[in-house]
């Protein structure tokens, strides 16, 4: 049984408004097979735990410093260079968040740039992306 589309003119039944025609808005019904909804599911939400489970590794670095020494041969004060090893360390996001990180390493972590290892972990802790 086919239903004919209704014409859009409706006569108002109120005697005061007799003669005034109210038009119903047209509504396209679509076909039976025409879907009318698209669903967008949320991306896998990053749980509060996962950000803090990531880790940041501060690499061991060596630094060249100079100091004054007395040359044994000439008995003069000279400066010599020597190498210092700055040990690195690995911290969990939780440790960084709570501040359980020595200052030197914390400065290194704060200076991380996108592309460097540990940047994403740190950014997710402080909320910067």
């Amino acid at each position: 049984m086919n239903e004919q589309p209704q014409n859009d003119a409706n006569q108002s039944s109120d005697p005061k408004n007799a003669g005034i025609v109210t038009r119903r808005r047209a509504l396209m019904m679509g076909a039976v097979t025409a879907s009318a909804v698209i669903s967008i599911k949320p991306a896998l939400a990053q749980s509060a735990g996962s950000a803090l489970n990531c880790s940041i590794t501060v690499p061991t670095r060596s630094e060249t410093r100079s100091r004054s020494v007395i040359d044994p041969v000439s008995q003069q004060v000279v400066s010599e260079e020597y190498s210092v090893s700055l040990p690195g360390g690995t911290y969990s996001g939780e440790q960084v968040r709570k501040g359980y990180v020595p200052t030197d390493h914390m400065n290194y972590i704060r200076g991380l740039k996108r592309g460097q290892s540990g940047f994403t972990c740190f950014a997710s802790i402080v909320g910067r992306h």
């Binding site: 589309p5 509504l27 019904m29 679509g30 039976v32 009318a36 909804v37 967008i40 939400a45």
Partner: protein, 99 residues
């Protein structure tokens, strides 16, 4: 027994009409649905009532001049189209169905 349909609790979703479409955010699932005609209008006339497709069609007729697209199969009725749309929503968890 004729099938009856009811929208989920109004507190569980937010329906926002835009110009050509509506956005329905389903709080329980966190899913956002982009909803096109005639679904926003069907949701509107259903309210929180439990209705058959035929009853929904009657309510729509009072407010809207329903039209079929030009290339539709001649055998499709408004009731069939409304049923198809409601079944879609049942599958998405937005409408409850009782037989």
């Amino acid at each position: 027994m004729v099938a009856r349909y009811q929208m989920i609790d109004s507190a569980d979703y937010k329906l926002q009409a835009l110009d050509a479409i509506s956005i329905l955010f389903h709080r329980t699932s966190g899913t956002t649905h982009i909803v096109a005609d005639p679904m926003p209008q069907i949701i509107e006339v259903m309210g929180s009532d439990c209705l058959s497709a035929a009853e929904i069609e009657q309510r729509l007729q009072k407010l809207y001049a329903m039209e079929l697209p030009q290339d539709t199969e001649e055998t499709e009725t408004f009731e069939q189209i409304i049923t198809a749309r409601l079944e879609e929503f049942v599958a998405l968890g937005l409408v409850q169905k009782t037989n």
